[in-house]
């Protein structure tokens, strides 16, 4: 089952095939509808896991726990065994399925919250632990006795059915549709739920939220510095991922009519993860393919092959074959398949092919080395211009830093630094390597909390704000070693920059009311204009990682501008550029200040850039400010020459003046 059909005709054919399938199966006597229905339940689970693993990049090894929570929510609310309140009502299944999704989402948040501070391997270990805890808790909550001295307030209370599980579970009720042993109604029920979930997921992926998930997956720090709140974004991934497993668990419980803790063990989590990885994390088509392949291989191929092998064994009189059971080899085949896919196609069966990063652009005119064209005033996006006009200054300086101190262990990285950026000024920040320049940026943008000192932005305090909140106030930055969202397109990178200026919520992203559609259209238009402005027009759909170095630098600036900043922090923007390219960059920075009244704080080692464009320069050495003043004075400052400029710079300057 693939969903590669884009044209209406293709869609119609797909729907017709899905509707006709169970009847064709019945006529031909294949009896595969049960297996396919179960396969679709696992696909739905895998799709939920895909939100956590594939989109947000959070490795979850205990996802079956949410499956269990969904199934038990349904079972406990809709079964006569434990005296459930809703059992026997016609509408109970349809209510319970929403309750199950809500409970799963809630527990997703509860589990997610403590794990958010840890990353990577540690997060995986915590989810592993959680996956182990849930089945054990379900087993042991089947017989709870609390004893205080001789007083037993609770005696032999059965909360979960224990090892025996819950049996029976109430069926869905729909007039005229028998949800009994015939698998066809179940098939259609699951198909409808699955299709609705898929529709919602598809819309989520192409929304403000989907982009934020992927940005977190690519580079959490950079996402934070572009205005994406990593905590709420990751919690939403956990909650939404879990809620889909709530749906899947409910249907599973009702279809099977019985649930036991054994159905939610560790290997189920691993199998679901295999479906996602095999199909291709992040790709909806791939995950559907992976889920169906694994389930059908297990349920249909292995059993059918076993029949054939046994028949062959009986005909040939080989008793080893006649009694063979290939289903016992299921994990062997899973393992083998996974190894083969990872070796031959590491991005998964349906994953986006990752082409290697090109260095030279084939389409480029080979006679022209001048790839960096000069920025044009008329290319400045109009909306950015309007934003620039809107602001009314609340204080004389846009950024005012007083006495900021930061220690790392015994090292004083910043020692009572004062720095003022007036409105519309370009301030240079220079100093020897390791002087604390980037740490200063990190303190201003909220990545590092200062030990002492005040930082005010347009009169309002910044200390204690998270990086994403600092961006929302109007400060954007670029990074010394480029930190783009590598596996997202150029356009998506710019769109993530707009994140904090957009408002779409989860319901908005799924239902797409006119306001959200308009907002998305506007965001796309703005991103395109910005890309055009920095000279990346026509490259919107390339992956950021495939851009040449200079384009990556320009994309970082476009992404920063997309946050609609009033102060731009640039960390060595001309590193790795030749003098000609650096000159283009200098023009761009000057243009931004002149036309957009943008204030700029600039870390730079290219003196042609920093001396030519800065109004004033601050020099740091070993975390201390050793000089501050206009460029001409800084160039002559004995301490700056000794610690930073050296005598070569003067010679260089002299030789260039004589050369031209």
């Amino acid at each position: 089952m693939t969903v590669n059909a884009r044209r209406p005709l293709g869609w119609a054919a797909l729907v017709a095939a899905l509707v006709a399938y169970p009847f064709v199966d019945r006529v031909l006597g294949f009896q595969t509808v049960h297996a396919v229905s179960d396969g679709m339940i696992y696909v739905l689970l895998a799709l939920g896991l895909n939100i956590v693993v594939g989109y947000a990049g959070l490795l979850d090894l205990g996802y079956a726990a949410f499956f269990a929570i969904g199934a038990y929510s349904m079972g406990l609310l809709n079964s006569p065994v434990l005296g459930s309140p809703l059992y026997g009502h016609a509408w109970s299944f349809w209510v319970c399925i929403w309750i199950a999704a809500a409970v799963s989402a809630l527990l997703g948040v509860a589990i997610g919250a403590p794990t958010l501070r840890v990353r990577g391997d540690y997060l995986a270990i915590i989810t592993l632990g959680f996956g182990e805890i849930i089945p054990v808790a379900i087993r042991n909550l089947g017989d709870v006795t609390i004893e205080i001295g001789s007083w037993r307030p609770i005696e032999r209370l059965n909360l979960t059915g224990g090892e025996n599980g819950v049996n029976p579970v109430g069926r869905p009720y729909l007039p005229g549709v028998p949800f009994e042993t015939d698998p066809v109604p179940w098939y259609f029920l699951i198909l409808v739920i699955g299709a609705a979930s898929l529709w919602a997921m598809n819309r989520l992926r192409d929304s403000r939220l989907g982009r934020a998930w992927m940005a977190i997956r690519e580079d959490e720090t950079a996402a934070d510095c572009m205005g994406v709140n990593p905590i709420s974004t990751k919690l939403l991934a956990f909650a939404l991922g879990a809620s889909f497993s709530g749906f899947a668990g409910s249907v599973y419980a009702a279809k099977l009519q019985a649930i036991t803790p054994g159905a939610f063990e560790f290997q189920v989590s691993i199998m679901l993860l295999c479906m996602v990885v095999l199909g291709g994390a992040g790709s909806l088509k791939g995950v559907i393919l992976g889920g169906m392949l694994i389930t059908l291989f297990d349920r249909v191929v292995l059993t059918q092959t076993t029949f054939m092998v046994r028949a062959l064994g009986r005909t040939l009189g080989v008793s080893a074959l006649a009694t063979a059971d290939l289903t016992l080899w299921r994990w062997f085949f899973f393992g083998l398949g996974l190894v083969l896919v990872m070796v031959l196609r590491p991005q998964g069966l349906g994953g986006r092919r990752l082409s290697p990063a090109p260095i030279a652009d084939d389409a480029e005119d080979p006679t022209s080395p001048d790839v960096a064209s000069a920025p044009r005033v008329d290319a400045i996006p109009g909306w950015l211009r309007e934003r620039a006009r809107g602001g009314v200054a609340a204080s004389p300086a846009i950024l005012d830093v007083r006495g900021v101190t930061k220690r790392f262990g015994g090292v004083i990285a910043l020692n009572e630094i004062d720095l003022v950026v007036p409105h519309g000024a370009i301030i240079g920040l220079i100093g020897p390597n390791g002087a604390g320049k980037t740490t200063f940026f990190n303190v201003v943008t909220g990545l590092v909390r200062p030990d002492a000192g005040r930082i005010t932005f347009d009169g309002a305090n910044l200390v204690g704000l998270r990086p994403n909140a600092v961006v929302a106030r109007g400060i954007a930055r670029t990074f010394q070693s480029i930190r783009l969202f590598q596996n997202m397109t150029v356009l998506e990178n710019a769109l993530v920059g707009e994140h904090c200026r957009l408002a779409a919520t989860v319901p908005g992203a799924v239902l797409r009311p006119p306001a959200v559609i308009a907002e998305e259209a506007r965001a796309h238009a703005r991103a395109r204009e910005l890309l055009e402005f920095v000279g990346l027009g026509g490259k919107e759909h390339e992956l950021a990682r495939n851009l040449p170095y200079g384009d990556q630098r320009r994309l970082e600036i476009a992404r920063a501008l997309a946050t609609e900043p009033r102060l731009l922090l640039l960390d060595e923007p001309s590193a790795g550029m030749n003098p000609r390219e650096a000159e283009t960059l200098t023009d761009l920075i000057g243009l931004l200040r002149r036309e957009l009244a943008l204030s700029v704080l600039l870390i730079e080692h290219h003196m042609e850039v920093v001396m030519g464009i800065s109004d004033r320069i601050t020099v740091l050495d070993y975390g201390t400010r050793i000089a501050e003043g206009p460029p001409a004075a800084i160039q002559r400052d004995a301490r700056v020459i000794e610690a930073y400029l050296g005598t070569g710079y003067e010679q260089d300057l002299a030789s260039r003046t004589s050369a031209s």
Binding site: V371, N433, G434, Y644
Partner: protein
């Protein structure tokens, strides 16, 4: 010593090198200059075997490099300071430097070389017990160069050694390049700072979109109109 003949290197379908021929003689400093995306880094990668030539040959002291694995190539006496530093972030500065000498047979000569690196970069000496990941960007650059020096190679490949370094350190780094060259190391230098590179180099190649468009003595390139306008930023 090093000879590339009509080397074509592809990334997928993209032609990064379109027939590069260049040579480096023992004792030389040769520099490759060109805009971003011209193929300079790809040339270094093709020499070291981290990218593979589809056509053409790479020879080094009589060995054909294009059939060897990267670790074998390094053992033949080629070391590099890669673009983007690529230091080991969870190992200490000292361990990073010691790993640079991993393939060396002359264990006894390693200690003096370590001293030499610490003399060249006193900042690394101050931070020798810190892990590489806690260094600033410029300090990591020093570490990458120091690690390459620890291999004491016959041929040293330097990819933008001045990137991210303060002006005073840029001076220092080019002095170091000349010093180690005088001590017998041959150097192939990729630089955006074309002026400085051409001052220390004996010969230079100018690359544009995967081809070599100009090749001359460094002093002559410094006077060439193309180089002055395009890469030195002179009007």
């Amino acid at each position: 010593m090093l000879e590339l003949t009509d080397v074509h290197t592809y990334y997928g379908n993209i032609r990064a090198l379109r027939g590069i021929s260049l040579s480096v003689a023992p004792g030389e400093i040769v520099t490759l200059i060109g805009a971003n995306g011209a193929g300079k880094t790809t040339t270094l990668r093709t020499i070291l075997g981290t990218a593979r030539a589809r056509h053409g040959t790479v020879r080094f002291n009589g060995h054909q490099l294009d059939t060897l694995t990267t670790d074998r190539i390094v053992r033949l006496g080629i070391a590099q300071s890669p673009e983007g530093r690529r230091i080991f972030p969870r190992m200490t500065v000292l361990e990073n430097l010691e790993l640079g000498a991993f393939a060396r047979p002359d264990r006894a000569a390693i200690a003096p070389d370590l001293d030499r690196v610490f003399t060249l970069f006193p900042r690394l000496s101050e931070r020798s017990a810190q892990t590489g990941g806690t260094l600033s960007g410029g300090e990591q650059q020093m570490l990458a160069i120091g690690r390459a020096l620890m291999a004491r190679p016959a041929l040293l490949l330097l990819d933008e050694p001045s990137m991210g370094l303060s002006p005073i350190l840029v001076d220092t780094i080019f002095r170091i390049i000349q010093d180690i060259n005088r001590q017998g190391t041959t150097i192939l230098l990729v630089e955006q700072n074309a002026r400085m590179a051409l001052r220390v180099a004996h010969r230079g190649y100018v690359m544009q979109t995967g081809r070599i468009v100009l090749h001359d003595a460094a002093a002559a390139l410094l006077r060439s109109d193309l180089v002055r306008k395009t890469y030195l930023g002179e009007k």
